[in-house]
C-alpha cells in the first residue's frame, strides 16, 4: 500500500500531522506497537527537518506486511556535510526555531537509531532524500 503527503516549508504549526496520520494507519494494520513507535519517532524527525531546514517536500510511505519503507524528499538546499549533521547536538537551527522547541540537533541521530536501514542522499545545493526501512522481523526478534 502506497500513501504520500506534502510537507510545507516553515509550517511549524502543522509539523507532525503526517506522522500522526501514518500512525493511525499503522495501528489499523495491526503492526507491533514498538515498531509503530520507532517508525513514528523517525518519521516525525524527518518531517520536522523538511519544515525547518528545507524548501518543502513530501513523504511517501510504502507499507507491506514485512517492511515499511518511508522516503522523505525535499527540494533543497541540501546538507553540505552529512557526517557533521549526523552528530548528536549539531544544528544550524536559528534562535527562533529553537524557541519553538525544535532544533536540538538530535533529529538525524534519532532517525539512525530507529530505522533498520537508512540511506541519505544529499549535498550542498541539492535536494535531500532520506530513505528509511523498517523491518517487521526486528520486533519479532526482540520479543521476550
Amino acid at each position: 500500500m502506497h500513501i504520500s503527503y506534502q510537507v510545507q516549508a516553515g509550517d511549524f504549526s502543522n509539523a507532525g500531522n503526517v506522522s500522526s496520520n501514518i500512525k493511525k494507519i499503522l495501528k489499523q494494520l495491526n503492526f507491533h506497537p514498538s515498531l509503530i513507535k520507532r517508525i513514528i519517532i523517525a518519521l516525525y524527525e524527518a518531517e520536522v527537518n523538511v519544515v525547518a531546514h528545507s524548501y518543502g517536500g513530501e513523504v511517501v510511505c510504502n507499507i507491506a506486511p514485512d517492511t515499511v519503507i518511508i522516503v522523505v524528499t525535499d527540494t533543497g538546499p541540501g546538507i553540505p556535510d552529512l557526517s557533521l549533521a549526523m552528530t548528536e547536538g549539531w544544528s544550524t537551527a536559528t534562535a527562533e526555531v529553537r524557541e519553538m522547541g525544535f532544533g536540538a540537533g538530535m533529529g538525524l541521530a534519532n532517525i539512525r537509531k530507529n530505522a533498520d536501514e537508512l540511506t541519505i542522499d544529499t549535498g550542498a545545493n541539492q535536494p535531500t532524500s532520506i530513505t528509511m526501512h523498517f523491518s517487521v522481523s526486528t520486533e519479532v526478534k526482540n520479543e521476550p
Binding site: 500522526s20 495501528k27 489499523q28 503492526f31
Partner: protein
Amino acid sequence: MSHDEPFHHTLTIRKDLCQGCTHCMKRCPTEAIRIIGGKAHVDPERCIDCGQCMGVCPHNAIVIEQSDFQQIFQFQYRIAIIPTLLIGQFEDSITELEMIDALHAIGFTHIHYAEFGVDILKTLGNKISVYADAHPVVSSYCPAVVRLIQLRYPSLLPNVNLMRTPAQIAALYARVKLIDQGIPSQEIGVFYVTPCAAKYAQIMTPGSATSGLIQGGLNLDSVFNLMQSYFAQRPRHYKVSPTKWEIPIITGPAFLWSLTKGESAMMQGRTLSIDEVHNVIEFLELVEDERHENLDFLELRACDTGCTGGVLTPRNRFLATERIKHHAATLPKILDETHRAQILALSDKLIHNLKIDRIVAKHSLQLDQDVTVAIKKLEQVKRITAALPGIDCGLCGSPTCRALAEDIARGNASIRRCVVLKVTDPKGLNHLAKIWGEAVQKEARIPIEQQPTPEV
C-alpha cells in the same frame, strides 16, 4: 482488568426507548456505536464504559446495569466505600453527619471514604508512591482511561501506575481492620458506591483489580435515591445526635483526589491534569509520540471536572465540586497520630497487597489480525472513502463516512446504507454495491449488548 478477560460492560440500549437519533454515535470517543435498523448498537470490543453516550441521550434510552441493593444484606458486616463526591450531591442543608446517618439507615454497618486510601498510602510510605515501568507515569484511577489505553494506546501500558487506587486500598483496609477484630472474612461485604459506568464495569469484570476486595458496586444514583427517601421520611425537626455515628476519617487533600487536579496535586515532580475523554485522547496521542517534555505524572479522567462529572451523579458537577472543596477546607491537612497508629498497626497485612498485576493490551483498532489482509482492507477503505460524499451526516448509521467505509471493508455494512448516494446517484450506488459487497447487512456481526437489566 489485569488479566486478559473480556471486559464486562454495563451500558445497555433500551430498544423500546431508542429513537436512533445518532446523538450517542456522534459523541462516542471510540466510535463504538452504530445505528442499525433505527436502533443504537454498542460494539463491546470498542466500548470503554465512559458513559458519554448516556449523558447525551435525549430519550434516556441508555441505562446502566443495576445491581440489587438487597445483596448487601447477605453479609452481617456491610461496609460502604463512598466517594467523597457523595457529599457534593447534597445541598448544604444536609450535613456530613446526616449523610452518614442516612447511609447507616439504609443498611450499612461501616462507612469509609474511598479517598481515605490516599491517607493510608501516605501513612505507609510517607509519600504517595507510584509504580510503573515507564515515564511519565499515567494515573490508573479512572478505569475508562485504563480501558482506552488497553484498546488504543497499548504502547503506553508500561506507563500506567500499578499502585492500587485509593478506593481499593480503603476497601482492603476496611476488611483487614474487621478481620483484625476477629470477624470472619466471609461475613464482611464491601460495597463501592460508584459514580460511573466504568467503575461498576471494573468491579463486575472477573479478575479485575477490585476482585476479592470489593463484593459489589452500587450505583450512586440509586443509593442517592434511597438516602433521599430516608430524609423525606424522617420526622420533622429530626436531629442526629453528634455522637450517634463516627464520622469517617479523611484529610482535606485526600478529600479532593477525584476532582480534576486532586490527584496530581499530591504527586512529585511536574504534573498535568486532563479531564474529559476527548481531551484525554488528544493528549494520549502526543504522549504516545513522546512529544511532551519533562513530565512526570499525568492525571487523566474520562469525565469533565473529574468524577463529579460521572454519569451517575445527580447534581450539577460544578456545584458538587464547589461543595467538596468547601468541605475539604474544614478537614485536617495531615492525619492525626491515633489514626496513623491504627494504620501502621495493620501495615504488614496491607503492604504486600498494594500493587496490581501488569495490564495487558486489547486490540480494537485493526482492520484484521493478519497484516496482509489488513493492508488489503485499508486500500479498500481508501477507495470507498473516496466514493462517499464526505459530509459525515451519520444517516447511514456510522459516525463518519470514513467509519462507514471501514464497516464496509470489515464486511459489516453495505454501501447501500449511504442515504446521500441513494438520492444523488442511485445507479452508481448499485454499481458500487456490486463491487464492495451486495447488501451485506450483516447486522448480527456487530454484537448487540444482551446484558439483562435486573430490576432494583
